[in-house]
C-alpha cells in the first residue's frame, strides 16, 4: 500500500528544546493512524510541521511523491493536507457555511471583477460551492446549522464543524488534533463511526492525535507513540497496549494519562 504522506527524520527545535527529535512517520493511503503520547510530547508540534506552520530544523516531508517541506501553509492546504486544531479555531463570527466556503477558497476561481459583476460563471461557482458545503455539513452531522454563526454551535457541533471545514478542502490527508476532547462516551462513539465512514467512503487518510485510549484503540490501524519528542514505539493497537516502554512513558507521568 502506498503512502499518502511521508515524514522523514523530522526534528523541530525551539531554542534549547528539541520538541520533535528525528521522527519518521508515514500515513498509508486510506488508513487511520494515531499519534499518542503524554502532554508536551510534541504531537501538535509534529502536526504544525506537516501543515507548514513550522519549518522543521531537519528532515523532509513528501506528499504524493513530491517534497513539500518548504511550501507555505496555504499551499499545503490547497494540495490536500487539511487539519483541525486542538483548541477549536473556527471563524466564530462566520456562518457554518461560510466557514466551509473559506476552506474552498483555493479551489474557487472567481476574481475581483467576476465577483463585482456577478458573472454567470461566478454565480454558478458560488451555487455549486454552497451545495457542496451543504453536502459536507450534512455528512458531518451539522447540516441544520448552515446559516448559524460557528460560535453559536454547541461544543460537539463545533468539533464536527471543524472537521467539516477541513473536509471542504477536499483533502487526501486529514489531520485531527484531539477531535474527541471534551466529548462524552456516546459522542465519542458517534465520532468513531464518522471517521470510519469517512475513510470507507472517500479517498482519504486520517491521522489522529488522541488522548482517549478507547477511541485510539477502536479506530487505529497503527499507533505511534511519542515521548519527549522521540518516537518510542510504533505498531498495531495490540502491540502498543503491551509495549513496556509505552506503559512506562504513561505510568511514569500519571497526570498525563488523560488531560
Amino acid at each position: 500500500m502506498a503512502n499518502a504522506l511521508e515524514a522523514k527524520n523530522i526534528s523541530v527545535q525551539f531554542g534549547g528544546l528539541l520538541a520533535v527529535n528525528n521522527v519518521t512517520f508515514d500515513i498509508p493511503n486510506k488508513s487511520i493512524v494515531s499519534l499518542i503520547g503524554p502532554n508536551g510530547a510534541g504531537k501538535t508540534t509534529f502536526f504544525n510541521v506537516l501543515t507548514g506552520l513550522y519549518k522543521p530544523s531537519a528532515g523532509k516531508i513528501v506528499y504524493g511523491g513530491k517534497e513539500i517541506t518548504d511550501l507555505p501553509p496555504h499551499k499545503i492546504a490547497e494540495i490536500g493536507i487539511a487539519r483541525t486544531f486542538q483548541n477549536i479555531r473556527l471563524f466564530g463570527l462566520m456562518t457554518a457555511q461560510e466557514n466551509l466556503l473559506v476552506a474552498m477558497h483555493s479551489h474557487l476561481k472567481s476574481g475581483i471583477t467576476a465577483t463585482i459583476l456577478r458573472t454567470p460563471r461566478q454565480r454558478k461557482e458560488e451555487r455549486e460551492a454552497e451545495a457542496k458545503a451543504q453536502e459536507i455539513l450534512d455528512f458531518a452531522g451539522v447540516g441544520k446549522w448552515t446559516h448559524e454563526f460557528a460560535r453559536n454551535l454547541s461544543y460537539g457541533d463545533q468539533r464536527r464543524l471543524e472537521v467539516a471545514r477541513a473536509l471542504a478542502l477536499n483533502p487526501k490527508v486529514l489531520l485531527l488534533d484531539e477531535p474527541t476532547a471534551g466529548m462524552n462516551a456516546q459522542e465519542s462513539q458517534v465520532f468513531i463511526d464518522f471517521i470510519n465512514k469517512l475513510v470507507a467512503e472517500r479517498d482519504i487518510a486520517v491521522m489522529l492525535i488522541e488522548h482517549d485510549m478507547k477511541v485510539v484503540m477502536a479506530v487505529s490501524q497503527r499507533i505511534t507513540v511519542l515521548d519527549q519528542g522521540e518516537k518510542i514505539a510504533e505498531g498495531s493497537p495490540a502491540e502498543i497496549k503491551s509495549n513496556p516502554r509505552v506503559i512506562e512513558a504513561y505510568l511514569g507521568k500519571p497526570k498525563a494519562a488523560r488531560k
Partner: protein
C-alpha cells in the same frame, strides 16, 4: 447567550438598497439643483440650507464617504490597520492634476477631454482619469503592501503611517523632484478640467450636477463593497480578520488576500482623490495631512467597521461636523447667548471626546456589522456563557 441569527437574509436584501438610495439621491439632487435656486423658495429655508448644509458641504461629505468606504475594506473587512490612507487621496488628486489640467503646459495631449483640443497640457476624459487614478493608487497599495503586509499588525500600522507622511511630503516639495516639477509644490495645481457628462461640462460651480456624480461614485463603492463582501474574496478577508492562522491553514494565501484588500481600498482612495480635485477645482499639497487619515479612520470606527451603511453614516456626520455643522452651531450659539466662542477650533477636541465615549460605551459603532458587535462584546459574553452556552445553544 446573545442569540444572533446569521445574515443569510441580509445577503438577499442587498439589492433593495439601490431603490432607497436612488430616491434619497434624487431628492437631494432636486433640492440642490432646482429648489435652492428657485425664486419662490422662502428665504428662511434658503438661509437655513446655506448655513447648515450648503451645496459644497454635501459634495465634500460625499467625497469623504467614498474614501471611508475604501478604508473600510482595509480596516473593516480585512482587519488591517491603515494610518496613512491620505496618501491615496493625494495620489488620486495629483492624477487629476496631471491628467486634467494645463499643468504639463509643454505638452498637448487631449483624449476626449472637456476643453478645446488646442489647450496646452494633458486633458484626459474625467471618467478615464477616475480609473487611472484608481489603478495607480491600487498599484501603490500593492507596492507599499507587498513588503509590509508580512509584518505584525502593529508594525504595519507604523509603516502605513510613514507612507501617509512621505507621499504628501513628496508632493509638498514636488516642485523639484529630482529636477522635475511634479506638483507645483505649495502653489498647487489650480483649475482642473470640468467633468464632461455628454450634454454639458460640469465646472466648479455646478454643485447640483456634481452632487449627482458623487452620489453615483458613492453608489459604485457601496455596490463594490457589498458584492465583494459576499464573494470569495470577502469571505477570505473576514476569515483573516477572525483568525489569520486558521485562514492560512484552510488554504487562504495571506499575503495575496491582504494585498487585494489593500489594492481595492487604495483604488477607492484614487477615485475619491480625483473626485475631490474636481470638487475643489485644484490640487493643494497642504490639504493632504495626517489628520485626514485619522479623520477617515474615525469615520469608519464611528459608523461601524465593516458595515457600509454605518461607515456612510459615520463619514457623513464627521465631515459635516468638521465642515459646517460646528461652525453653524457656533454661530447659532454665539448669536443667542451673545458669546464669542470659536467653535470650529474645537473640532478635534470634539472628535477625541466622541471617540473616547464610543470606545467606552459603543465600541462597535453607530450602525455596526452584526458580527463585529458580537466580537467586541465577546469578553462580556464569554463570562456569562462559559458554562451555559455549550448545552443551551441551538433551539
Amino acid at each position: 447567550m446573545a442569540k444572533t441569527t446569521a445574515p443569510s437574509n441580509v445577503a438577499k436584501s442587498n439589492r433593495k438598497w439601490i431603490t432607497g438610495y436612488s430616491i434619497i439621491g434624487v431628492l437631494l439632487f432636486i433640492t440642490y439643483q432646482f429648489l435652492l435656486p428657485w425664486e419662490g423658495l422662502p428665504l428662511g429655508i434658503y438661509d437655513a440650507i446655506y448655513q447648515w448644509m450648503p451645496p459644497s458641504a454635501i459634495n465634500e461629505s460625499l467625497v469623504y464617504i467614498i474614501m471611508a468606504l475604501g478604508l473600510n475594506i482595509v480596516v473593516g473587512y480585512a482587519g488591517l490597520l491603515d494610518l496613512g490612507y491620505v496618501a491615496f487621496w493625494a495620489i488620486g488628486g495629483y492624477c487629476a492634476g496631471w491628467f486634467m489640467s494645463e499643468f504639463f503646459y509643454f505638452l498637448n495631449i487631449n483624449f476626449l477631454g472637456s476643453v478645446p483640443a488646442e489647450a496646452p497640457g494633458i486633458h484626459i476624459n474625467f471618467w478615464m482619469v477616475l480609473l487611472i487614478g484608481g489603478f495607480i493608487c491600487a498599484l501603490f497599495g500593492i507596492l507599499i503592501g507587498a513588503p509590509t503586509l508580512r509584518l505584525k499588525s502593529d508594525y504595519l500600522a507604523l509603516v502605513t503611517l510613514g507612507f501617509g507622511e512621505i507621499i504628501p511630503q513628496v508632493f509638498f516639495n514636488g516642485e523639484n523632484f529630482f529636477g522635475y516639477n511634479i506638483s507645483n509644490g505649495t502653489k498647487g495645481i489650480v483649475m482642473v478640467d470640468p467633468i464632461p457628462v455628454g450634454v454639458k461640462n460640469l465646472g466648479p460651480f455646478d454643485f447640483g450636477w456634481k452632487l449627482l456624480i458623487f452620489l453615483f461614485l458613492t453608489a459604485v463603492m457601496v455596490f463594490i463593497s457589498l458584492r465583494l463582501r459576499r464573494g470569495r474574496l470577502g469571505r477570505a478577508w473576514l476569515a483573516i480578520r477572525e483568525d489569520e492562522l486558521a485562514a492560512s491553514m484552510m488554504g487562504v494565501p495571506l499575503m495575496r488576500t491582504k494585498l487585494s484588500a489593500y489594492a481595492v481600498g487604495a483604488f477607492a482612495g484614487g477615485l475619491g482623490g480625483v473626485a475631490f480635485a474636481t470638487h475643489v477645482n485644484g490640487v493643494y499639497a497642504e490639504r493632504f495631512n495626517f489628520t485626514i487619515s485619522i479623520f477617515l479612520l474615525a469615520m469608519v470606527v464611528l459608523g461601524g467597521m465593516g458595515n457600509v451603511w454605518g461607515v456612510i453614516l459615520g463619514a457623513f456626520i464627521l465631515s459635516w461636523v468638521n465642515g459646517n455643522g460646528l461652525t453653524a452651531f457656533g454661530q447659532l450659539y454665539n448669536d443667542r447667548f451673545g458669546t464669542d466662542i470659536d467653535f470650529a477650533s474645537f473640532t478635534f477636541l470634539l472628535f477625541g471626546l466622541v471617540l473616547i465615549l464610543m470606545m467606552l460605551f459603543k465600541r462597535e459603532g453607530l450602525l455596526p456589522e452584526s458580527r463585529l458587535k458580537l466580537m467586541l462584546h465577546e469578553g462580556e459574553l464569554d463570562d456569562e456563557d462559559a458554562s451555559s452556552s455549550k448545552k443551551k445553544v441551538g433551539k
